[in-house]
């Protein structure tokens, strides 16, 4: 066969590049071992990575496991900690005497997909938050509990989890694993030029010292620059700044005041006057940053709010280094064009409100591996499928992020602007109209591969003031079924609160003893 796909080149070696390399190389292991396909990653020794993607989804444990990475090694090497979901503080209204919050946990409760859970809850919302009544994770998070015990095997859990991790160290671990265990070839060089073929596809990339990297499929992991897809192939960027207003982040790393300080087993997002602050607990430090709209407040003002937040959390700000990152929210008009596909920041960027960056890399790499055709002339079919799938995913992710903002009753200009109808995508407006009288359920969404599922929408939708007014009553059998779920969840919560260790002490034990493979 003449036009067989034999060479895959990944350009760029941040988390996106190495994660893509690892997922591809582990899924294509047999073909690589048989010499049918080779994966090469080329990265610049000079360009620093952005490295702020520090929160994952609960997809990451299975991704790492499938790659053959030891969870113990991952936790030790990447200063990783467990994440059981997100806690949104003061998103409903301006901060009062008592901070109000809601959780978006990783566990998916029974009857959430079908919508029965919120329908029951709406009959008496005073019973407590969804995440407390139907999930164990609000209680576990509020008590700083780990989602597993030291006796659990690697990647096994009592409550669903993802991770907080050091992005730089994560890329290093992936690099080591990819090159030593998964036969990924590694080139350290700067790209000086991209050569196009006559049909407009990429022929090769020219590296410094006159070297050339040719491949049948190029994966662009070059970050915001989008060197291949954006620059060489001229695929336009589609900004969504009319929907999501944040365009700047100020990031810093905060040390724990002492080694016994609790590690939050969740990502905290606290609303501010013109944006929000992320707070991500690693085992070694916290990653904290303020995402804001520069049209609404100045960088100085944003940094002042961030410092105030850090001081209030019990840490010192005198030694902190603040890094300002400007970004454009949006995505490429196409992610895959001819023989080039962009993964990571080169494909697009959304504020890290729901930690969608790494999961999009996981999903992209998995789809490339699954759909990779054997021949070059069929690439265009996969290109079409991939673009359709990921356009849908990006649009839905944007809707979901926007949902967080429009439910707020905060009063500063930023929040008022966010609620202006002109800034809300029509797809989200339609959903909000539906949800006046019916709850989000699985049938509101595409059947498979949905990024944010009905339960996620429920946790956010009912996290603050919004209440659906159902038209129909539940049957006695449905009410009884749900009452059982509430009792069961209460029992599970009580049990897990006594059985599960404190988050930090589990991390310490994993560092000392390790988790067994079985």
């Amino acid at each position: 066969m003449q036009n067989k796909i034999k060479q895959i080149a990944i350009v760029g070696g941040g988390t996106a590049g190495w994660l893509t390399a690892g997922i591809l190389a582990s899924r294509l292991r047999t073909r690589i071992n048989n010499g049918d396909i080779a994966v090469t990653l080329c990265e610049s020794p000079n360009i620093p990575t952005v490295g702020v993607g520090e929160g994952t989804w609960p997809t990451m444990p299975s991704t790492l496991k499938a790659m053959g990475i030891s969870e113990t090694e991952f936790i030790r090497e990447c200063d990783a900690a467990f994440k059981q979901g997100s806690k949104f503080v003061n998103w409903g209204q301006e901060e009062g005497d008592v901070p109000q919050y809601y959780y978006h946990p990783f566990d998916v409760p029974i009857a959430a997909f079908e919508g029965l859970l919120p329908e029951y809850w709406l009959t008496n919302p005073d019973m407590g938050s969804l995440a407390k009544i139907f999930s164990v994770q609000e209680a576990l998070c509020e008590n700083f509990k780990a989602p597993k015990n030291i006796t659990h095997a690697e990647y096994a859990h009592a409550a669903n989890y993802g991770y907080h991790l050091d992005a730089g160290k994560f890329a290093k671990l992936l690099q080591k694993h990819c090159t030593e265990k998964l036969s990924v070839k590694h080139i350290l060089a700067d790209v000086t030029e991209v050569e196009l073929a006559t049909d407009g596809s990429i022929d090769s990339v020219i590296l410094d010292q006159g070297r050339t990297l040719s491949a049948d499929l190029f994966i662009d992991c070059t970050g915001f620059k989008s060197l291949l897809l954006g620059q060489a192939l001229d695929i336009k960027f589609k900004p969504v700044s009319d929907v999501l207003f944040a365009d700047t982040a100020i990031a810093t790393q905060v040390q724990y005041p002492d080694n016994n300080m609790q590690i939050k087993p969740y990502t905290q997002s606290t609303a501010q006057t013109a944006g929000w602050i992320w707070d991500i607990g690693l085992s070694s430090r916290r990653g904290v940053g303020h995402v804001f709209s520069s049209k609404h407040i100045s960088a100085q003002q944003a940094q002042a709010e961030l410092e105030q937040y850090i001081i209030a959390s019990g840490a010192d700000t005198s030694e902190l280094n603040f890094r300002k990152i400007d970004f454009n929210s949006g995505y490429r008009e196409k992610f895959w064009h001819k023989n080039c596909v962009a993964v990571g920041l080169s494909a697009g960027f959304l504020e890290p409100l729901e930690a969608s960056a790494l999961v999009l890399v996981e999903l992209s790499a998995a789809m490339i591996a699954e759909q990779l055709p054997p021949t070059i002339n069929t690439l265009s079919i996969v290109e079409k499928r991939f673009n359709q799938k990921f356009h849908y995913r990006w649009q839905r992710a944007i809707d979901f992020l926007k949902l967080h903002y429009i439910l707020s009753q905060r009063q500063t200009q930023f929040w008022q602007d966010n609620r202006a109808e002109t800034s809300i995508p029509s797809s989200l407006q339609e959903l909000m109209l539906l949800w006046q009288h019916q709850v989000p359920k699985v049938s509101d969404f595409e059947a498979t591969g949905e990024l944010f599922q009905a339960p996620s929408f429920q946790f956010v939708l009912y996290g603050t003031h919004f209440r659906t007014e159902p038209v129909y009553n539940l049957s006695p059998a449905e009410v009884e079924f749900m009452q059982h779920q509430v009792i069961k969840n209460q029992k599970s919560t009580d049990n897990l609160l006594t059985q599960l260790p404190d988050h930090r002490s589990l991390i310490n034990k994993i560092k000392q003893y390790g988790l067994a493979k079985v």
Partner: protein
């Protein structure tokens, strides 16, 4: 009486004697005893032996199953112990090793002075009039030396076994004649399929590290579960 553990001292414990015999002591009313690999070849003839994880460290260890419910020891029959060999962990009583910082290479011997065997009248003395260890105490010291060395060795072997996924989590479920269902959770048995499928470097590593030998010993011990069920039915 609650245990009162004291570090062994030739002056303080000069008068103490150990009256062995009656095996029905409170601390023997347990359904599992720790086992080290060095005693496996004798114990497998009489006990079912599985791996389990230490609740505080998650590290694998071996246990001989003595009963199904928490305080059930089916080897206890009146004052007798129905087996020729005792696990070192049972034999060491009323002594224990004081280990610091999980350092199993060294430890000091301690004694539970409230143990029913401890008295000043009859039994084996611990120290001679000159304050030297008696033969009895020397035997006990050897038991501990064996236990400590065996504990490290056991952990190394089980770690290699787990690394190669030769252990698999099982729930031991038994149904007694009277219809009662009982069993033990948190046990790990040898995964026979994984064992069969070992090849190449994995096989060589496991062979060299004595993992294969230990796996086969563990597998052969499983048959004693039937004996325990029979005893439980008779109880």
């Amino acid at each position: 009486m609650a245990a009162q553990v004291e570090l062994l001292d030739k002056q303080k414990h000069q008068q103490i004697k150990i009256k062995t015999g009656n095996m029905d002591t409170p601390e023997n009313r347990v359904n599992a005893a720790l086992v080290v690999v060095t005693e496996l070849s004798t114990l497998i003839h009489e006990y079912p032996i599985f791996a389990t994880k230490h609740p505080n460290t998650g590290q694998f260890q071996l246990v001989a199953i003595l009963g199904f419910s928490p305080k059930q020891n089916l080897y206890l029959h009146g004052e007798q112990w129905r087996a020729t060999y005792l696990p070192l962990d049972i034999m060491r009583r009323p002594f224990s090793a004081m280990i610091e910082n999980d350092d199993f290479s060294a430890g000091r011997i301690a004694i539970d002075v409230n143990h029913p065997w401890v008295n000043t009248q009859t039994g084996e003395a611990l120290f001679t009039a000159e304050g030297k260890a008696t033969e009895f105490l020397q035997r006990m010291q050897n038991t501990f030396a064996g236990l400590l060395a065996g504990t490290q060795r056991t952990q190394q072997i089980l770690n290699v076994a787990a690394e190669h996924k030769l252990l698999t989590s099982i729930n031991l479920e038994v149904e007694l004649k009277n219809g009662e269902k009982t069993g033990i959770n948190g046990l790990y048995a040898v995964d026979t399929d994984a064992l069969k499928n070992l090849s190449g470097d994995g096989l060589a590593t496991c062979h060299k590290a004595s993992v294969l030998e230990v796996c086969h010993l563990l597998l052969s011990s499983g048959a004693h579960i039937q004996k325990l069920i029979k005893w439980a039915d008779e109880a």
